[in-house]
C-alpha cells in the first residue's frame, strides 16, 4: 500500500469528476491542494502524450519531487490519474483497468450524465477497495 496516493478522474473537459485520497499516510491539510496542483499540471503532459500511443495506460507521465503521476486515458478521453510514491507498475495498471470498468458501469447508468461528478457511494467504496488491493 502506497503511503501517498491521490486518485482523480478528469473528464474530457478537464473537470475533476471524482477525487479520492487513497493513501495510508495521515492526511495533511495542504496535501490536497498540492496533489491537485501536481495532477492538474500533469494534464499538460498527458495532453501531448496521449496521442503518441495507442495504449490506454501511459505509465508514469510526470513527477514532482518523489511523487509520480501515472495516467490511464480512456477512449472517451477521460483521464484516470494517480499520484503515488510507490513503484508498483503492474498494480497500478490493474487498478486503472478495474476502475475503468467501474467507470464504464457508471456511464451505463441512464441517470448519470457523462462529464458530471460521480457521487455514487458504491463507486467510491469500490475504488477504495481496489486501491487497497492493488496499490
Amino acid at each position: 500500500m502506497a503511503t501517498t496516493a491521490c486518485f482523480i478522474i478528469v473528464s474530457r473537459n478537464d473537470i475533476p469528476i471524482y477525487e479520492a485520497e487513497v493513501g495510508v499516510a495521515a492526511k495533511r491539510e495542504d496535501a490536497a491542494q498540492l496533489h491537485q496542483f501536481i495532477l492538474h499540471a500533469a494534464l499538460d503532459v498527458v495532453q501531448d502524450l496521449a496521442w503518441t500511443t495507442s495504449a490506454m495506460y501511459l505509465k508514469s507521465v510526470d513527477r514532482f519531487n518523489e511523487l509520480v503521476v501515472s495516467v490511464y486515458v480512456t477512449a472517451g478521453h477521460t483521464r484516470l490519474m494517480l499520484l503515488h510514491d510507490s513503484r508498483n507498475d503492474d498494480g497500478i495498471k490493474s487498478f486503472f483497468q478495474e476502475v475503468h470498468e467501474l467507470y464504464i458501469k457508471t456511464l451505463l447508468n441512464p441517470l448519470y450524465l457523462p462529464g458530471s461528478r460521480i457521487t455514487s457511494s458504491h463507486f467510491d467504496t469500490k475504488v477504495r477497495a481496489l486501491a487497497r488491493k492493488y496499490l
Binding site: 478537464d14 473537470i15 475533476p16 491539510e29 490536497a32 491542494q33 496533489h35 491537485q36 496542483f37 501536481i38 492538474h40 499540471a41 500533469a42 494534464l43 499538460d44 503532459v45 495532453q47 501531448d48
Partner: protein, 1292 residues
C-alpha cells in the same frame, strides 16, 4: 533553427561576453583621482571601449590557416577583484535588485490580472514577456562563479598598469604596483603563470598641466620597460564647461547610475577617441598577438608530451600509478606548469579566440585525465566547456547537451563547493536548450537548479514557469503550477509583492477552474498577502471567491471565514457586493405571495394550489363573472389594460417573498438584516413614472442596491435575522408593504453576513423555467413577476377558526367558532362561505352559539322536532353558505359563526374554507375578495365499530344486533356511552344490563367488546308518507348505568344529523329511505379521569356512524313458523296431527307475491339428515342462539339418544316419519308493510325430533314498482325454510 549562427543566440552573446580575455588593471590613487572628476573610476572610463564589434583582426593559432575575428571583447578588472567574488555581497546585491524590481512591477500592476492570450504570446519573443531583471539576476549568478582556479578563461591575459603623470617618480610607481602584495592570489599561489604580459600606461590629466611632462615621463618609461609596452593616455581635456554626452556610453555600464551625475563630464570627443584608439591598439597589437603566441607555444608543448600513441600509453601508465593519491574533492593541485593546466589554458585561449576545434580537442584530452585523477570539479569544468564548444561550433547537439548535463550533475555531486558552478552551468545549459526551442527541457533544468537559497529558487521557478508558457504547445497548467511554487518561495523570503505578482499571473490560468483546492489556495493566499500589505479592498475581493468552500474541511472553512471577516473588519468599511457566495440562495425556491382579490388566512393556504381554490370558489364568484361578456375580458373590466400587465397588490398589505438560504459550510454563519430591495414609484396619468427613487436605467440599478438604508416612506420592508447552522437550509419569508399607490418592484434581496459584509442578490430570470410562481395566466416578461401595481387600501377580512384541534381521535365531534374581523374602517357585505368537505366541517346555525357544548347535543324535555327541520334545510343546501342578509363585518368587534367539526376518518385531513365578501366602496379596482383558509388536522384511529344484524327466530319483526367495538388507541380509555339507531320505526334495546357488558364502564386501550341488542319494530305504525317527511325516528340505548347527571344524546340534533347525512353520502347511498335499513350511531366519551398528554383539548363527544345496515337479509319478506315445541302423543292410537302457523311479514313497500312449497322428507335420507342436524345444531332457547350452553346440548343429546330407536325402526319400514298434510303449495299476496298468517299442518307417524325445514318460500316483487332504479335489487327470490325442531314423545 539549424541554420542559426550560434554566436547570435543569447547564449552565444553571453559566452562572447563572459568568456573573453581578462585584463587586470592596477592603478595609482592619482589616476583614480583624475578619473573621479568625471564621477567614474578609471576602470569605468575604459570599460565602454573594451568591446569591439568590428575589430577585424587576423588570427592564426595552431594551424597555419589564419582567420579573422570581428567581434572581440576585453574584460577589465581591478587586480583586487580578480578573486572569487564574495557570495554574501552578491546575494545582498541580488536581493536588493529583486526587491526593487518587485516594488517597481507591483506599482505598475494594473488591477486586472494580465490575460494570457495564446496568439499574442506566440508572436512575442521570450524577452518581451519575461521580466527584464531575470537577465540581470542570471548574469549575477553566472559571475558569482568566476575566477575559480579550476578554469583558465578568467585568468588575466595581461596586466595594465596605470600611473598618473602627477605621481612622484612614475617609473618607480610602476614597479611598486607590480609588488606581489597587490597581485591576486591566482598569480601568487601558482595557479597561473606569473609571467604575464605587462602594459604600462601613463595617464595624464590635462587639467594638471601640459602634455610635455607626460611625454618626458613616457620616454623615461620606454627606456625602462621597452618601447612597445608603454602607452600614454590624456584625459579631462575639456576644461571649461561640463560636456553633456548625447549618448552616454557609460550609462549602461554603471548599474546604479543616477541621472543627476554627469558621467564623463570632463571628457571631450578627443579624449573619447583617444581612449577608443588606446583600447583597440591594446587588443589588436598586444592582447591578441600575445594569446596567439601563447597558443602556439602551448600547443607545441602539449603535442610533444601528450599527442601520439606512445605519449598516451605513457600518460595512462603514469596516471594509474598515482591512483592512490590525495582524494580531496578538488583532486590534486595542478601547478600552472603542469601539463594538465597547460592543456586547459590552451583550450580556453583557443576558445576565446574562437578556434573551437583546437579548444575541443584539448578539452577532450584533459577531460579523461581529470576523470582518472578524480578531480571532479576540474572534470566538470572541462565537460561544461566541451558542451559550450560543441554549441558554439554548432556540432552535435546531443553531445552538447550530454556534456552540459554531465557537468551539471558532477557539480551538484560536489555539494556546496560546486553549487555556484552548477548554477552557472545550468543557466548556460538552459540557454542552450532555449536556443533550440526546447523550453520544456529548459524548464526542468530551472527546476533542478533551485538550490537551498529560497530567493534564488523562487526566481528560478518563476523562470521555469515562463519556459512552460513559451514551449510549444504551451503548457499553461505547468506554467500556473510553477508560478504558484515560485510565489510560495517568494513569500518565504518576504518578497510579498513578487508573491502576489506570480499568484496573480497564475490566476489567469486558474480562473474559473473546477479544481476546487487549486482555486481556493490561490485566492486565499492572494487575499492574505494583499491584506498584509494593507490593501484590504483587493484582499476582500479575492477572499470572497473562496467563501463557499463546501469541499474543504471544517477547520479550513473556519480559517477562510475567520480570515475573511478579519480582513473585512480591518478594512473598516462596509463592503456591499453583488456576488457574495455565502449563504447560497436557492433561486428556484423563490416564491412570491401577494394578495389581490385573493387573500390568505395562513401561509399554508397560500401554498395550496390555485386550482383547488378556484374550484372551491367557482360557485361563489359566479355572480360576478356572469356579468362579464366572455372569458377573454376577465380582467379588462376591472383593471385597465396597461395595468393588467402587472400584478395587483393593495397598499398597506404585505407582499411576501419566500426564499431559501443554504449554508454550504460545516460551520454556522450568522445572517442579519435580510430584506428585500424594492423600488416604488408613484404613477401619474398616462403612465409617466414619477420616480420616487433613481431611474430605471440599468447602469443605475446597482445604486438601488446601495442606497437601501435611506428610509423610504412609500414602502416598508421586513428585516429578518437568523443563524444558519452547518449545512442548513432555511426558508425565509420576507415582506414588503407598500404604503401608497403606485408601482412597486422587487429588485432583489440583501443581507449582512456576520454583521460586516453586505451581500446582494438580484432577482433575474433569464430562463423561463426558473419561474416557479405562475399564479396568473398570460405571457409576460419574467421580471414582471416582481412588478406590482399598488392600489389604494381596501378592506381585508381576517378570519380564524377557534378551538380547532391539531390532533383528534376519529369520531371526535366539536363545536368550533369562526371568527371574522375587519380591521379597516370600510364595511364588507354579501358574505358567503364554502367548505371543501362537509363530511368534516359543517356550518352551524347562529343559534348554536348560545348553547353550550356538549350539552346542546343532549335531549331536552321539549320536542326535538324543531331542530330536525332546521337540520334538514342546511343539509339540502349543499353548495354555498350565505350568511344572513345584512351581515356586515366592520370594526373591532369580531363576527362569530359556529362550525361543527367531526374527525370522520383517521388520517390527515385538509380543511379548506373560502369566504367571499364584497366591498361597500365600489370605486376600487377590486370589487370583491375572497379569504382562503386552510387547516390540517391529524386524525388518529380510536374505536373500530361494526354491526351485525340477524333476524330473530323467535319473533317476527325482531332482530338481534351484534356490536363489536375495538379500542384501537394505544393509551386511551373510552366510555361507550350510547347507541342510537336511526331508521324506520326501529327500536333498539339492550339484551343485557350495561353492567355486565362493561363492568369497568370503559373500554381500555386495545380492548375489544361485543354486545348484543334486540331490534324491534316500534309499536307506532306510521304510514309510508309520514316516513318520508320525518326522515328518521331514533331510539337510544344507554350503555352506562343510570345516573342522575347523564343525559341521552340526541342524534337528531343538527350537527349529528348532518354529519350522519354526509357519512351516508360518503358511502354513496341514496337518499331514499329504505324501511329495511337502519343506521346506528354509537356515541362514546373519553373517561374524564383520563389525563391524556397528546391533546391539549380532549374530546368531549365522539360519534361513530354505521349506515345502512340491512335487516332484510333474505329479501323483503320475513316469516316465522309458530307451533308447539314438544308434545306427547300416543302413537299407538293414531298418528299425530299438529297444527302450525306461519307468520309472514312484508317489509317492502310493495305488494309481494309469496308461494310456500312444502316437501315431505324422502325416506331414510331425510331422517338421517334431521338426526344429524339435531346433533350438530344448537337448540333454540329463549336467550338466543349465540350462546352455546353445554348443559342444553347434553340434555338434547341424551334425549335424542333415547328416541333414536323408534325412528330407526320406522325408517326401516321405508315410510317417511311425517308428511305435510296441508296443501303442497300455498300462494298469497301480502300488502306492503303488513303481515299475513298461514295455517300449516303436519302429520307425525312416530315419536322423535324432527326438523321441519323442508319447505321453500318463493317471493316475487312486481317489477312495476315505481322509482325503483336500483338494478341490483332482487325482484324475486327463493328461501329455504328455517330449521324448526319439533319433538313428539310417546305419551305414557
Amino acid at each position: 533553427m539549424t541554420t542559426m549562427d550560434p554566436s547570435t543566440t543569447p547564449l552565444g552573446q553571453m559566452l562572447l561576453d563572459e568568456i573573453s580575455p581578462v585584463i587586470m588593471l592596477l592603478s595609482t590613487p592619482a589616476v583614480e583621482d583624475s578619473s573621479l572628476k568625471n564621477n567614474l573610476s578609471f576602470l569605468q572610463i575604459l570599460s565602454p571601449f573594451s568591446s569591439f564589434n568590428n575589430i577585424d583582426v587576423p588570427v592564426r593559432t595552431a594551424s597555419d590557416q589564419p582567420y579573422r575575428i570581428h567581434k572581440f571583447k576585453l574584460r577589465l578588472f581591478y587586480a583586487s577583484d580578480v578573486r572569487n567574488p564574495d557570495l554574501k555581497v552578491a546575494k545582498e546585491r541580488l536581493k536588493r535588485v529583486i526587491t526593487e524590481a518587485g516594488e517597481k512591477v507591483f506599482t505598475e500592476l494594473t488591477s486586472d490580472a494580465p490575460e494570457i492570450d495564446q496568439h499574442k504570446k506566440l508572436d512575442s519573443s521570450e524577452y518581451i514577456n519575461t521580466p527584464s531583471w531575470f537577465q540581470f539576476v542570471n548574469k549575477e549568478l553566472v559571475r558569482v562563479a568566476s575566477f575559480s582556479d579550476h578554469e583558465a578563461f578568467d585568468h588575466p591575459v595581461a596586466c595594465l598598469l596605470a600611473v598618473s603623470s602627477k605621481d612622484e617618480k612614475p617609473v618607480n610607481r610602476f614597479v611598486d604596483l607590480l609588488n606581489s602584495n597587490n597581485l591576486p592570489s591566482l598569480l601568487n599561489d601558482g595557479a597561473m603563470d606569473p609571467k604575464i604580459l605587462k602594459l604600462y600606461l601613463l595617464v595624464h590629466d590635462n587639467q594638471d598641466g601640459s602634455v610635455e611632462r607626460a611625454s618626458r615621463i613616457l620616454t623615461e618609461m620606454r627606456s625602462a620597460f621597452g618601447t612597445s609596452n608603454c602607452l600614454l593616455l590624456c584625459i579631462n581635456s575639456s576644461s571649461d564647461a561640463p560636456i553633456k554626452h548625447e549618448e552616454n556610453p557609460w550609462a549602461s555600464y554603471i548599474s546604479d547610475a543616477s541621472p543627476s551625475q554627469d558621467h564623463g563630464c570632463l571628457l571631450n570627443i578627443d579624449d573619447i577617441n583617444e581612449i577608443k584608439d588606446l583600447m583597440q591598439n591594446l587588443s589588436s597589437k598586444h592582447i591578441i598577438p600575445n594569446m596567439e603566441q601563447k597558443i602556439r607555444v602551448l600547443n607545441q608543448q602539449v603535442s610533444a608530451t601528450r599527442k601520439g600513441f606512445r605519449n598516451q600509453i605513457k600518460n595512462l601508465w603514469w596516471r594509474k600509478g598515482k591512483e592512490d593519491g590525495a582524494d580531496s574533492p578538488n583532486g590534486p593541485m595542478y601547478n600552472y606548469n603542469s601539463t594538465e593546466s597547460q592543456i586547459r589554458v590552451l583550450g580556453d585561449y583557443a576558445f576565446m579566440l574562437r578556434d573551437y576545434e583546437l579548444a575541443l580537442s584539448n578539452y577532450r584530452l584533459i577531460s579523461t585525465d581529470y576523470k582518472i585523477d578524480k578531480a571532479w570539479k576540474r572534470y566538470a569544468g572541462v565537460q561544461e566547456m566541451m558542451g559550450l564548444t560543441y554549441f558554439m561550433s554548432d556540432q552535435s547537439r546531443k553531445e552538447a547537451e550530454y556534456c552540459m548535463e554531465h557537468a551539471f550533475n558532477t557539480y551538484l555531486k560536489l555539494g556546496s563547493l560546486g553549487q555556484q558552478n552548477a548554477t552557472r552551468c545550468g543557466l548556460w545549459w538552459i540557454e542552450m536548450l532555449k536556443a533550440r526551442d526546447q523550453y520544456k527541457e529548459a524548464a526542468s533544468v530551472y527546476f533542478r537548479i533551485c538550490g537551498e537559497d529560497i530567493l534564488h529558487s523562487a526566481v528560478m521557478l518563476e523562470q521555469a514557469s515562463y519556459c512552460y508558457l513559451l514551449s510549444k504547445p504551451s503548457m499553461l497548467r505547468k506554467y500556473g503550477f510553477h508560478l504558484v511554487l515560485s510565489g510560495e518561495q517568494y513569500k518565504k523570503c518576504d518578497q510579498v509583492k513578487h508573491a502576489i505578482r506570480t499568484y496573480r499571473s497564475a490566476l489567469s490560468v486558474f480562473k474559473g477552474t473546477t479544481w476546487s483546492y487549486i482555486g481556493d489556495h490561490v485566492h486565499f493566499h492572494i487575499g492574505q498577502w494583499y491584506a498584509s500589505l494593507g490593501m484590504y479592498d483587493v484582499a476582500v475581493k479575492h477572499m470572497m471567491e473562496i467563501l463557499a468552500c463546501s469541499h474543504q474541511s471544517k477547520s479550513t472553512q473556519e480559517l477562510f471565514l475567520g480570515d475573511f471577516l478579519q480582513i473585512v473588519e480591518k478594512a473598516g468599511q462596509t463592503f456591499e457586493v453583488t456576488k457574495l457566495q455565502l449563504p447560497v440562495i436557492n433561486i428556484s425556491s423563490l416564491k412570491v405571495i401577494f394578495e389581490d382579490y385573493r387573500t390568505f388566512g395562513s401561509p399554508s393556504s397560500a401554498n395550496t394550489s390555485e386550482g383547488l381554490w378556484r374550484s372551491l370558489e367557482e360557485e361563489m364568484i359566479q355572480s360576478f363573472s356572469a356579468a362579464k361578456t366572455n372569458w377573454l375580458e376577465l380582467q379588462s373590466k376591472l383593471v385597465s389594460r396597461k395595468h393588467s400587465q402587472s400584478n395587483v397588490c393593495v397598499a398597506g398589505e404585505a407582499v411576501k417573498v419566500n426564499i431559501e438560504f443554504k449554508n454550504p459550510l460545516q460551520i454556522s454563519i450568522p445572517i442579519s438584516g435580510v430584506r428585500l430591495i424594492c423600488k416604488h414609484s408613484t404613477i401619474t396619468d398616462e403612465g409617466s413614472l414619477d420616480e420616487n427613487k433613481s431611474s430605471l436605467e440599468d447602469d443605475n440599478s446597482v445604486d438601488h442596491f446601495k442606497d437601501m438604508n435611506s428610509d423610504n416612506s412609500s414602502f416598508l420592508v421586513s428585516d429578518v435575522d437568523f443563524l444558519l447552522g452547518g449545512g442548513e437550509t432555511t426558508l425565509v419569508q420576507l415582506s414588503v408593504t407598500p404604503r401608497v399607490e403606485g408601482t412597486l418592484e422587487i429588485l432583489g434581496v440583501r443581507w449582512k453576513l456576520s454583521g460586516t459584509i453586505v451581500g446582494f442578490h438580484k432577482f433575474e430570470f433569464s430562463l423561463p423555467k426558473n419561474i416557479v410562481k405562475a399564479r396568473r395566466k398570460g405571457k409576460r416578461s419574467p421580471n414582471d413577476k416582481f412588478k406590482f401595481m399598488v392600489i389604494k387600501s381596501i378592506p381585508k377580512l381576517q378570519a380564524s377558526i377557534n378551538l380547532l384541534p391539531g390532533k383528534a381521535y376519529a369520531g371526535d365531534l366539536r363545536q368550533l367558532v369562526l371568527e371574522l374581523k375587519n380591521p379597516s374602517e370600510f364595511p364588507v357585505k354579501n358574505l358567503k362561505m364554502k367548505v371543501s368537505d362537509p363530511r368534516f366541517l359543517i356550518i352551524g346555525n347562529q343559534g348554536d352559539m348560545k348553547s353550550e357544548f356538549p350539552a346542546c347535543l343532549t335531549k331536552k324535555t321539549d320536542s326535538s322536532v324543531q331542530t330536525d327541520a332546521q337540520a334538514n334545510n342546511s343539509i339540502l343546501s349543499d353548495t354555498v353558505f350565505l350568511f344572513p342578509e345584512g351581515t356586515s363585518v366592520q370594526g373591532e368587534t369580531p363576527f362569530l359563526w359556529p362550525l361543527w367539526f367531526r374527525a370522520a376518518v383517521p388520517g390527515e385531513i385538509s380543511l379548506y374554507l373560502s369566504i367571499y365578501y364584497e366591498m361597500e366602496d365600489i370605486s376600487s379596482v377590486i370589487k370583491y375578495r375572497t379569504l382562503r383558509l386552510h387547516y390540517n388536522v391529524q386524525v388518529l384511529p380510536s374505536l373500530d365499530v361494526s354491526f351485525q344484524i340477524s333476524p330473530s327466530r323467535l319473533r317476527i319483526q325482531e332482530f338481534l344486533v351484534r356490536l363489536d367495538v375495538v379500542n384501537k388507541t394505544s393509551s386511551e380509555c373510552f366510555q361507550v356511552y350510547q347507541l342510537s339507531s336511526i331508521g324506520q320505526n326501529w327500536k333498539v334495546s339492550l339484551l343485557q344490563p350495561p353492567d355486565t357488558i362493561f363492568p369497568s364502564q370503559s373500554l381500555m386501550a386495545g380492548q375489544a367488546v361485543s354486545c348484543f341488542f334486540t331490534l324491534k319494530k316500534s309499536n307506532t305504525l306510521s304510514t309510508f308518507e309520514d316516513n318520508i317527511s320525518t326522515m328518521s325516528v331514533t331510539s337510544d340505548v344507554r350503555l352506562v348505568p343510570q345516573s342522575s347527571e347523564d343525559l341521552v344524546y340526541n342524534v337528531n340534533s343538527a350537527p349529528l344529523v348532518n354529519f350522519h347525512h354526509y357519512e351516508r353520502l360518503q358511502q354513496e347511498l341514496s337518499h331514499e329511505v329504505d324501511l329495511n335499513t337502519i343506521d346506528f350511531v354509537l356515541i362514546s366519551r373519553p373517561l374524564k379521569s383520563n389525563n391524556n398528554l397528546g391533546f391539549s383539548d380532549p374530546p368531549h363527544v365522539m360519534s361513530h356512524h354505521a349506515s345502512h345496515s340491512s335487516t332484510a337479509s333474505t329479501g323483503p319478506i320475513s316469516w316465522l313458523l309458530d307451533g308447539p315445541q314438544t308434545l306427547h302423543h300416543d302413537f299407538s292410537e293414531s298418528f299425530c296431527e299438529i297444527d302450525l302457523k306461519m307468520h309472514l311479514y312484508n317489509s317492502s313497500i310493495a305488494t309481494v307475491f309469496v308461494r310456500i312449497d312444502t316437501s315431505d322428507p324422502v325416506g331414510i335420507s331425510g331422517q338421517t339428515n334431521s338426526f344429524d342436524a339435531v346433533q350438530s345444531a344448537t337448540p333454540d332457547n329463549q336467550a338466543g342462539w349465540h350462546d352455546v350452553s353445554t348443559v342444553n346440548e347434553l340434555k338434547v343429546t341424551t334425549s335424542n339418544a333415547l328416541e333414536t330407536q323408534p325412528g330407526k325402526a320406522l325408517s326401516l319400514e321405508g315410510v317417511s316419519p311425517y308428511i305435510w298434510s296441508g296443501s303442497g303449495s300455498t300462494n298469497l299476496h301480502i300488502e306492503p308493510l303488513s303481515s299475513a298468517e298461514i295455517p300449516l299442518q303436519i302429520c307425525m307417524f312416530s315419536p322423535g325430533t324432527y326438523d321441519l325445514s323442508n319447505y321453500t318460500l318463493s317471493w316475487n316483487l312486481p317489477s312495476k314498482v315505481p322509482g325503483d332504479s336500483n338494478e341490483t335489487k332482487q325482484s324475486s327470490g327463493k328461501c329455504q325454510g328455517y330449521k324448526y325442531y319439533l319433538t313428539v314423545l310417546q305419551s305414557a
